[in-house]
Symmetry: C2
Subunit: 323 residues, 2 copies
Amino acid sequence: FSSTVVCLPRLPRVAVCGGTHGNELSGVYLVRELLKAEKKVMEKEEEEPLSVLMVLSNPRAMQQCRRYVDTDLNRCFTHANGPIPDDAPYEIIRSRELNATLGPKGNPEAVDLVCDLHNTTANMGLCFILRVTCRFQRQMPDVPMRYIHFDVSNKESYSLDSVGKHGFAMEIGPQPHGVVRSNIYTAMKVGVQHMLDWVRIFNSGTIFEGGCVDVFTMIKHIDYPRDSETRNITAAIHPQVQDRDFCLLHPEDPLFQTFSGETLRYKGNEPLYPFFINECAYYEKGIALSLARKRRVMIPAIRVQTEQQQQANKQEFASEEEE
Amino acid sequence: FSSTVVCLPRLPRVAVCGGTHGNELSGVYLVRELLKAEKKVMEKEEEEPLSVLMVLSNPRAMQQCRRYVDTDLNRCFTHANGPIPDDAPYEIIRSRELNATLGPKGNPEAVDLVCDLHNTTANMGLCFILRVTCRFQRQMPDVPMRYIHFDVSNKESYSLDSVGKHGFAMEIGPQPHGVVRSNIYTAMKVGVQHMLDWVRIFNSGTIFEGGCVDVFTMIKHIDYPRDSETRNITAAIHPQVQDRDFCLLHPEDPLFQTFSGETLRYKGNEPLYPFFINECAYYEKGIALSLARKRRVMIPAIRVQTEQQQQANKQEFASEEEE
């Protein structure tokens, strides 16, 4: 309705990261493929060249085909600029290397956009997991596409994508960890291509029309029922909930099925949208599924800032730094 | 057509093993559940009591939620009665413990039937993987059920189930490793229950009618296309083949899709049945899928031996041992 166009800084430097979790194989093989093709991309003559940095985030975990070696790399970036303690776990050391390459976090030298590639065993389609809301214009007809919002400030944020000026995780499933499935790999490849096209078109000065977007904001996590002594889980996700990510869960709906066959129900007060249902890596984090509220968000029309606006911005940033 | 009834020895001692691979969770949770319920089972008064031994095969791998700690336990039983070398891997030591509990392999003291529970990421339904052909009378209407035959003698056989006088693996998928899905867990639970019922009915003297069974005999394995230098895979299973286990693959059918998008075709000479398509654990073994020939096998009618036949058999075994 508003004819206001919000002007945002150019995004000349983008990073695409795979293998942040070493057993999430679509990202591993896609970044390897993009690195092979890089030479050809470089040779392509562009009016406004876009620098795309391809990164394999956790090579040691990739080699062992495990999520991580010592600790979850994607939780290591809260104090990315901090000192490295003695006897630091491998992933802490690696997080500082990545911060040097892609950041420093919060610094004007940081890359403009980090796209971190992930897979999930949950039936989530293609999700953008964001700290700020944005929208990609293109749709992918074969793959359901959704936006998830975790309400944490950039400073507190623990994930690799928080190192860039902007960042998001591209999460695609279902795919078992340690396996690559063509359909999921291809969806990720097309998703990354669309994202890079979007950045190029944005940088070129094209106005993107505003509009409404559904955003799923994470409200809470629910753990599996567990044995009070052994802490082993005593139930699995109920068959009526399994694979039904983003389908509304109502109070008293079946939620778990115990290993002896009993149905346990959702005891919440309000209907919410489940996601990350039965994600492999979250058993150890105590998360059987996450619940979100759906909001419709108005996105304004956007376009890239003019040269003059960019200069003014840079001066503003510099004077902020001096304070 | 033949009215001959083959008489076979009683099966008074059965073992059900889970967690032979520590991240195949249906078997882990099912055996834990059966152990909890064991007391109740024992209290049930039976005319011909059946001894059912529940075993968690690889507790250390289970704790770490990995397939194995040092080496694949289910490949450690070829020389199960052999000496333990110094600095033996954990799984070799554990295989000798299991051989002492369930075997010794090839010995009359061994349990009569070992049922070893496994999961696969492949879309294989419920499969009995056998060295000898048998048939369970009951069918499970919701789950496709098949018989796979690996042509190895019991002596050469490397798997846990070779320790019993008879043995088979119950393989159910698709389920990602490190995840338990209710539907797969329940199929395994029902499958084990049917198997135990079958043994009880067999032991009671009931005649099982003969008939025809389709058996898939493993012919060969096919590896992923790989980079000649790095040995990294360069293609995934083609989308037209993924999840189509036991659907006939013809020469020149699509087989792989490279990460750059090219289709690679099946270059075999004869149509064969693929199975274990895209099994997670077989990437490191160099197996993208296995191929089988389907044969229709006549199974004779069977019943348990009479007391007299059993006595005669025991004496025969004893005199063989003396030779």
